[in-house]
Symmetry: C2
Subunit: 649 residues, 2 copies
């Protein structure tokens, strides 16, 4: 088998070129039932249709119309941020992936209408950023905060999505023209020799290379990746901002190849590393691949919340120090969870290792999904793992109360585009065979394989995968055994399969026939998970997990008199799983047991004697999946729960 | 006894009026030996003399000179902040208190020279803020960020210090003229009806009332205090800032009398409450007093680090939720520690209770002192309780590496003025007698008492207090028994005194004669202090304390191979105290024992099984006082140390 020679309909956002060094190639996927189908339907029916109204209301679309009116008096830019065009592009990308999945004439018309507003805004020379066109200053003069290349990247990604979804080049023409303008403007001997304060164009240019076959886009991406980390952004750091974010914020502190940990603004760091991973995929640069594996492990092993959320600090939306992973003040921007998926998926394609899809699964079900309200109309920008009753949060984007839209509206359309393209992250093929990474009812086509999956995952643990089509001869069919899973059983056509999964893959190798069915049953007990011993903020606590889901206690579900701030749980008491089809869109709840501690409001909270007298006998406590928390008001929530312990010393 | 009828030489920054409801009146104090004398000498010899150069370099003084040149072309304001004048005023206040303590002709001349630059900058109508005079905009139009009243407050405090120190009115004239301008400009029926985004003028106006006897300043302070919390600042919130700090930041979310917790920007909150406490002192408002007691308890009991540091969040320098007290990301601005002392001392004067001086002691020796480098030339703006090796900190003000000066230079001159006036916070008299709050070798005069103190506190636990002068007849002499102290012995002229301290005071009541000597010996073992059970970030950890001192481990002091991130301590192993006269200006170190855990760098840091294998037998670990940390480079430091525990469950 070999990958397709040209991108074609059915492709998702990332399609390594045929000559690339990718180990895996993404399947085209369609999800037809289950939890992801339900959330994707909400995305299609509520979130995406609401987008144009939001973008109109916030002025983003008006900016394009104004920028097109070159012959009239200048119009002021609307909005607070230089990067507002990108919200439109991200929405267009979401709409395109949605149209590729399910034709919808109204959405198609809306999409064309918005593209028709963008096209005339482009300057004849190809430049396009309404902020600078509407009086914001000189293009390319403020690479730190200007976000011009960042917006160009989102334009390119939207254009590719539109092209792959519809075959139309109305937006791709704009993107190519802008990309060519950038290629002429930037370079070691060009007018501008530097990088953007917000990485994003790197992945986009490489996907444009994959789409058009034009080497110059790969070269330009390589230039931006190699040029970074040389302090070019220092000078512009302070414009309009009264604090200096420092070079790590811009990802300009070190070249990628010299870095040994993920630092700075989480989204910037991970978009950059996703671009570097794309470069490694296309070039087969093994040294870069090894560096990216190390950086990914630094992220996953020391700087990721249990939910997959990343970027611990409110302060400049940054990664913290290793093991700085507070529950209450974990920032965990929704966009950073998305960026983590982008980076991890490319690492999966680059290496074929399962750990990347392990983290993707965890992130999707928990730290990403929590950002999207059940109704598709309310969002979280930050995704902490603990919200106290009557928490003090500033109004605006960084509240942990679901919000209809944000002044800095990066997250909602970013979530829309990931949900709309999500099935493309679920399966792959390789030169060896076919791999299922994620489990959702649907059909997945890759290489010469077509596989149908039926499952009630994540609520139930059985996955039934049926071969509809397979290439002739001996090949392999692999299912990822999740890292959280300690045991499983598998049968092929009612015959037991050896239940081993070296390197995380359960692989069956044989000549497959249409109708061959592999049934996988994962052991899925409730887990009382502990933190790493170096995570100070979580010491002495446990979290409840089942399968890929992290659970949390919400105050609204607990018996009267239970104060979540005073709770301790008993990890030796058995936990039960209860189906709750009418709760939060249909979930399983967990019941565990715990007690409350006696409140202590003495004037000084530190002392030598032991504290925390336990008040009552164990009471039942109900936990719901973290991914759906906060959909019933703004009460207290916590993932990490102190455990009853014998009094030490 | 009654307090002096008029402020006079020897008075410090806070002198309740004779007709006030104060329970205690501050003594005039002079500290002659010991730790505070040593640090105050550094303040006098290094910090204060360096100030004018720093203020010249940063442009603060040039702004005054430029504002005076009304007949020439306008000069641009120098500096990034509207409130830069206040740095000059705070330095002047520090210089004045220092001159009051120890005459110094060169410093006196420098002071007069700077005052001579300020006076001509004042507009004829009394207004004075160089930022707005040098083209920054319309005065009083930006109450949120403008800081005009804040600067006025610092001007008034500096002027009062200068007046009390020298008897001169050169600066007091300027302050009175500005105060009168403000009194005319502000009010329910005046041109401006609102409050300043940064409280500070409230305490200053009340001290001006105390200094001049003019009721209008007390009335104006009352207006500002009562007007606050009515949302007047919302409109100006966004100017020049791309994020909305919200009304809690400005202390404009609720009137003080309706608040039930301390929230928002810590310095703003505590300066405001200090002003409210001054109002309660002057008016005897028992309802306000009770509210302030509750708010203070909320702060001390739920939002204060072990070091006395307050304001847990980097995000807008704010108080966190109750018990949100991380070690690694505790912001604990030096100015907030100073503000806590301001608020607490007024509460001590208002109520006579010892808990306020308990917190002052803790804050001074730890969370405040850590902000001041041992050399008096390097400062910390933030004072976390844990700094990891190779910590990721943005450059600039918010690094936890000592810095010569800050772009936002609020902390250094604030620390200088507190150190210069510090002995005035050490003793009081009341209608009952004399009270010693803090223990430092020196002489304290209050009412008709003069008391000499000799002690090696905090290194040794004996305090010898000799009556030089006492009023005739039966009176009382009280010494604060610190809240950390579990037992003590006391002798008066070699006769045992009943070792009880109801309400925290050890009180001897009798007719005193000159030469009567009270010797107090405080039990001062090493303490392995535990956090309140609700502080998630500190669960399972202990801190080392001895007397008023919080200790920390610095990497530089530990045996080879000890990684502070992997350490667990054994609180059952005996701790020893060692005098180290040549270390860090002369300290006691503590030696405790602990082990390291096996490093675990697996790619996912959460699991169900127990972790953290212990590697070696107990090794000795050396702790130094937190107040002097970070004076030997920027290595790792931690106050809270995980303790060895039996594996739970």
């Amino acid at each position: 088998m070999s990958p397709e020679q040209t991108p074609a309909a059915g492709h998702g956002p990332i399609v390594p070129s045929p000559q690339s060094a990718a180990v895996l190639w993404p399947a085209a996927g369609r999800v037809s039932a289950g939890m992801w189908a339900q959330r994707r339907a909400t995305n299609a029916d509520a979130s995406i249709p609401e987008g144009p109204g939001r973008l109109e209301e916030a002025g983003n679309l008006a900016n394009f119309r104004a920028a097109a009116q070159t012959d009239t008096a200048p119009t002021a830019f609307t909005g607070d941020f230089q990067f507002q065009d990108s919200d439109v592009y991200k929405w267009l990308e979401a709409a395109a992936w949605q149209l590729a999945d399910t034709p919808a004439p109204a959405l198609a018309a809306e999409t064309e209408k918005i593209i028709a507003q963008i096209r005339p805004a482009q300057r004849p020379d190809g430049y396009l950023q309404t902020y600078y066109q509407l009086g914001g200053g000189t293009p390319w003069s403020e690479l730190g905060w200007g976000h011009e290349l960042y917006c160009a990247g989102h334009l390119i990604q939207a254009a590719i999505a539109h092209y792959r979804a519809t075959g139309g080049t109305e937006l791709l023409d704009v993107a190519v023209k802008f990309a060519d303008h950038i290629a002429a403007a930037f370079g070691p001997c060009a007018a501008v020799d530097g990088v953007c304060g917000h990485p994003q164009i790197e992945t986009a240019l490489i996907e444009l290379y994959r789409t058009t076959g034009q080497q110059r886009y790969l070269d330009l991406a390589r230039y931006f990746l190699d040029r970074r980390g040389q302090g070019t952004l220092t000078a512009g750091a302070d414009r309009g901002h009264d604090r200096d974010p420092g070079p790590e914020f811009w990802q300009d502190h070190l070249p990628i190849r010299q870095a040994d940990e993920v630092v700075g603004h989480a989204v910037r760091q991970l978009y950059l590393l996703a671009g570097a991973a794309d470069l490694a995929i296309e070039t087969g640069d093994s040294e870069l691949t090894a560096k990216l594996q190390d950086l990914w492990q630094d992220m996953a092993g020391t700087k990721t919340s249990l939910t997959g959320g990343v970027g611990a600090r409110y302060d400049w939306e940054a990664f913290g120090d290793p093991y700085e992973l507070p529950a209450d003040r974990s920032y965990n921007e929704t966009c950073a969870a998305i960026a983590s998926v982008h980076f991890s998926w490319r690492m999966a394609l680059l290496t074929g290792q399962t750990r990347y899809s392990d983290l993707i699964e965890r992130t999707l079900y928990n730290g990403f999904l929590s950002g999207v309200g059940l109704d598709g109309r309310h969002w979280l920008y930050v995704n902490p793992l603990h919200r106290r009753a009557h928490a003090h949060e500033r109004p605006g984007d960084q509240t942990a109360t679901r919000t209809e839209w944000f002044r800095c509206a990066c997250c909602p359309p970013n979530a829309m585009r990931l949900l709309a393209s999500l099935p493309h992250y679920f399966a792959t093929h390789s030169s060896e065979g076919f791999q299922l990474h994620q489990y959702a009812t649907g059909i997945y086509t890759s290489g010469d394989f077509t596989v149908r999956v039926a499952t009630r995952y994540p609520w139930e643990s059985r996955i039934t995968a049926t071969i509809d089509q397979a290439p002739p001869g001996v090949t392999s069919f692999s299912l990822r055994i999740p890292a959280w899973c300690d045991g499983f059983q598998a049968r092929l056509n009612d015959t037991s399969v050896d239940a081993t999964a070296p390197d995380g893959w359960l692989t069956v190798t044989r000549a497959f026939s249409s109708g061959d069915t592999l049934v996988l049953d994962l052991d899925m007990p409730v887990r009382f998970t502990r933190p790493h011993h170096r995570v100070d903020a979580l010491r002495g606590m446990r979290a409840l997990e089942r399968g890929p889901l992290v659970y949390c206690l919400e105050a609204v579900d607990q018996p009267a008199g239970v104060d979540l701030e005073e709770i301790v749980i008993d990890p030796t008491s058995p936990a039960t799983v209860t189906g709750a089809p009418n709760l939060l869109g249909g979930v399983n709840t967990l019941t565990v047991h715990g007690r409350c501690q006696r409140p202590d409001d003495s004037w000084w909270p530190y002392r030598t004697e032991a504290q925390a007298e336990l008040l009552q006998e164990n009471v039942p406590l109900t936990a719901v999946p973290y991914g759906v928390w906060g959909n019933r008001g703004s009460g207290a929530m916590r993932v990490w729960l102190p455990e009853q312990t014998p009094d030490p010393a």
